[in-house]
């Protein structure tokens, strides 16, 4: 009875369906590769080799760190389309400073963090002080960042050979051959920290409150304007951390490094169960969403699917994942409604009257 109960609770947990989808995809990819590509020889399956797992984790680390900030913004009811282009701008700018302007690594890091936060605060200021849609405002900033990036490089890439390698090229090696890079550790650490913050602090509760009902939040004593401003500032911090991880790993800054990232990130966050309307979502859902999309594109590469088809399959997957969470949401709602009906029937019968 008790274990039955906890299984039911687990099934109703908001991340369960997306987690099951992830498991299904992993098993499916393994089986497809095993029988269709490797002719049943399990030792040749590349998808589960430690080297491949290390690569997948490294590849998702950038998206994952960006997705933490985006989850905060989206749970509070906002959206930020500018993160991909901001990443291009910051990455190119950092490469330019260290390569052409002779900045030391710490000076470059401090400059980048300040610039990222300042720009996000400016955007947050406009969004929180006006009734303008964050969608449109961030679209404007996205284009501005593109312009800045091209102004810095004239369109070419800047390589920073052998500089700023600490984040990207520090690894923890496991005996099995698994190599976990520092960006992956950062992703896990930041996810855990922000999960704790969202769950156990007043700040976290207020993120949900502002996204759930802005009017009610204001009447409950939350300074909604400043709060939103703060969230965009924090988002800037996550963008700059993600950019540093990427720059340090690849050693290249240029107009393409973050191009289209906002789509991947928003897709992962939505797949992870965050509502576009705000007030709902959590960071483990986002983490699983990032992992899911990462696995899919890796698998498609291994299976030799054409990159053009990959776009179509990824798009379709996003829609399927959102549909699944929509259906599971409907199921929980109808379950709770029937519980309420039972309860009120009990109360009418007088069986709970002494409570």
């Amino acid at each position: 009875m008790n274990s039955n109960h906890s299984i039911r609770r687990l099934m109703r947990h908001e991340n369960t369906s997306i987690f099951l989808v992830l498991l299904f995809i992993i098993v499916a990819v393994y089986l497809v590769e095993l029988f269709a590509v490797r002719g049943g020889d399990a030792s040749k399956v590349a998808f589960v080799k430690p080297m491949n797992i290390s690569n997948v984790l490294m590849q998702i680390s950038t998206t994952g760190i960006l997705a933490i900030g985006t989850t905060l913004i989206m749970v509070s009811g906002g959206i930020d389309l500018s993160i991909g282009q901001m990443m291009c701008f910051l990455g190119t700018g950092m490469a330019y400073l260290i390569r052409n302007k002779g900045f030391s690594e710490p000076a470059m890091v401090v400059t980048a963090i300040s610039v990222a936060i300042a720009f996000q605060l400016l955007m947050g200021f406009i969004i929180s002080r006006t009734k303008l849609e964050p969608f449109i405002v961030s679209l404007g900033f996205m284009t501005i960042y593109t312009g800045f990036t091209y102004l810095i490089t004239n369109g070419s890439e800047i390589t920073i050979s052998e500089k700023f390698t600490f984040i990207g090229q520090t690894y923890i090696n496991f005996p099995s051959g698994l190599r976990i890079g520092l960006p992956v550790v950062l992703l896990l650490l930041l996810t855990i920290i922000m999960w704790l913050v969202l769950k156990y602090t007043k700040f976290g509760r207020r993120v949900y409150a502002v996204g759930g009902n802005e009017n009610a939040a204001y009447l409950a004593g939350i300074n909604v304007k400043n709060f939103k401003l703060l969230l965009y500032g924090i988002n800037g911090l996550f963008v700059v951390i993600a950019t540093m991880a990427l720059l340090s790993r690849t050693g290249v800054g240029g107009p393409l490094i973050g191009s289209g990232k906002e789509i991947d990130v928003i897709a992962a966050v939505v797949v992870g169960g965050t509502a576009l309307s705000g007030g709902k979502g959590n960071l483990w859902g986002t983490f699983i969403g990032v992992l899911l999309l990462g696995c899919i594109s890796n698998a498609l590469n291994i299976l030799g699917v054409s990159p053009y088809w990959q776009y179509i399959m990824r798009g379709g997957l996003i829609i399927v994942a959102v549909l699944l969470s929509y259906w599971s949401g409907l199921r929980t709602s109808s379950a709770t409604v029937s519980v309420r009906k039972e309860q009120s029937a009990e109360i009418r019968d007088g069986s709970v009257s002494a409570s």
Binding site: Y208, N215, A216, L219, V337
Partner: protein, 495 residues
């Protein structure tokens, strides 16, 4: 007589779940007359309009138009020539006057719209109405009096036979009112029939040919305006069923807890009031008289342009709801769904949220939140499967209790209730009254806005009446009566 009637309602009944609004209701409208409808908030005026405009269908009884029995839908009502001009504007603000008055009835040459003819016709109608509005003006740029004129022009263009005006002068200045009354008289003289609904008793006496008084969905009387006196009208409007009243236990009042002096802004003019601990100050007034706007100023939702705030005799600054909460105030708003609750969130997330301001710790432990929620679920007897239930699945009464729990948790001393029992059933209503009395016993102070006359009269220790943004009267406990409140709310020559 009969051939003179344009519209007739016979034996109309209409109920909504749990409430019977109309019961065997009869009404008639003559050709070329101005027929005014009077009644308190909740007397059934809006329901009447909605049945005539086709928005609601009566459960029983018949509506006759020009002697023929008809079934009204919003579309057929307009086709027949019944045009309703609602209190709030229903024009398209981005479009110009011509496009608005001809909407759905454009003059065309085949498929192409013939704008010059429409402009000419609009100009003609506007001249007839003595209006200086140009046909090319964008409606959104016009004042509210002018917009009302455009709506009337639209009714004329659409060849209406009956025009229903619902509180047409709600946001008007005196000259605009006079202008509108002139237009209405002129329309009636030309043979149109007008149903005119107004809270303003002066207007009624100025233009009515006949007056019908509604109370609790019944027609009390229909009078010829000639010879009718204000006393008779008010006597008919009051006199609610005694069984609707709640018998509350008296609580002795203490010192002044909260006071404002000369508060202005947000549509409120120069309002001063105070409330003592252990006391309920009722705010009466017709819908739209500015009571909610005043409450918003009191709680810092909107910033006052002038005025002073005092809590327990000490002057305070009121900037935002946060300052109000810091001074132990709370505001139970009239619309719990849009301003009171986080509907998608569970009880354990709704109830503690306003209390977070009261200590400096940055932490909010889910276990503490759940414990707090459970405590209020027990003490307020909220019916819910668990504290992890999203509040959208609760009934109206239980939702209202969640809002109360949220504010009780802040340990507030000064409570502002705006329509505390709107849309909740009788049992929950009495429970809420009991909670309010408990608050008084703990020495809290309550300001209560209510359009429910029995509620206002039975709960209030003292009542202040609001009209057109001003507090116009203060009524002590022993002088509180429906008649007295109504006299002040609808104006007129009060002795």
């Amino acid at each position: 007589m009969r051939e003179q009637l344009i519209l007739e309602m016979k034996g109309i009944s209409k109920s909504f779940p749990g409430v019977k609004v109309f019961e065997n209701f009869n009404f008639d409208l003559r050709k070329g007359e101005i027929h005014c409808i009077c009644g308190e908030n909740g007397a059934g005026k809006s329901t009447l309009i909605k049945m005539l405009s086709g928005a609601y269908a009566p459960d029983r009884g018949g509506i006759y138009f020009d002697g023929k029995k008809v079934t009204l839908t919003p579309h057929s009502a307009m086709q027949m020539g019944i045009q309703t001009i609602y209190q709030e504007h229903t024009l398209f603000p981005q479009l110009d006057v011509v496009e608005n008055v001809f909407v759905g009835k454009e003059i065309t040459n085949g498929v192409v719209v013939n704008r010059p003819r429409m402009v000419a016709k609009t100009r003609e109608v506007l001249q007839y109405l003595h209006s200086d509005i140009s046909p090319d003006d964008i409606v959104g740029n016009l004042g509210s009096g002018q917009q009302k004129t455009v709506e009337i022009a639209k009714a004329l263009i659409q060849e209406s036979k009956v025009i229903i005006l619902d509180e047409p002068t709600a946001s008007f200045g005196q000259t605009e009112i006079e202008h509108l009354l002139d237009i209405v008289r002129k329309l009636a003289q030309s043979g149109l029939s007008i149903i005119y609904i107004s809270h303003h008793i002066e207007e009624v006496f100025k233009i009515a040919d006949r007056v019908t008084v509604l109370r609790d969905g019944r027609k009390i009387n229909t009078y010829a305006a000639e010879g009718l006196t204000e006393q008779v009208l008010i006597r008919d409007m009051v006199g609610r069923d005694v069984s609707l009243f709640y018998h509350r236990e008296p609580v002795p009042a203490g010192d002044v807890m909260f006071e404002v002096k000369n508060l202005s802004g947000n549509g409120v003019r120069n309002a001063s009031l105070f409330v003592c601990s252990g006391e309920i100050l009722g705010l009466a007034g017709m819908v739209g008289s500015g009571r909610t706007e005043l409450a918003e100023l009191l709680f810092g939702v909107k910033t006052a342009t002038a005025g002073e705030f005092f809590v327990k005799g000490r002057k305070i600054e009121m900037r935002t709801p946060l300052s109000a909460i810091m001074h132990r105030m709370c505001f139970i708003t009239e619309d719990r769904q849009t301003t009171g609750l986080f509907l998608n969130h569970a009880l354990d997330k709704n109830i503690p949220i306003a209390s977070y301001t009261h200590d400096r710790s940055p932490l909010a432990m889910p276990a503490d939140d759940a414990r707090m929620a459970r405590q209020y679920v027990d003490s307020l007897r909220i019916t819910t499967p668990s504290v992890f239930q999203p509040v959208m699945f609760l009934s109206g009464g239980n939702q209202q209790k969640v809002v109360l729990a949220k504010w009780f948790a802040t340990q507030a001393d000064i409570f502002i209730f705006d329509e505390p029992t709107r849309g909740i059933d009788v049992g929950a209503k009495e429970e809420i009254y009991r909670f309010m009395i408990d608050l008084l016993k703990q020495g809290k102070a309550i300001i209560m806005i209510s359009s429910d006359m029995p509620e206002l009269i039975s709960m209030s220790d003292r009542i202040m009446v609001m009209r057109e943004g001003s507090l116009v009267a203060e009524i002590e406990k022993d002088k509180i009566s429906e008649e007295n409140i109504l006299k002040h709310s609808i104006g007129g020559s009060v002795q």
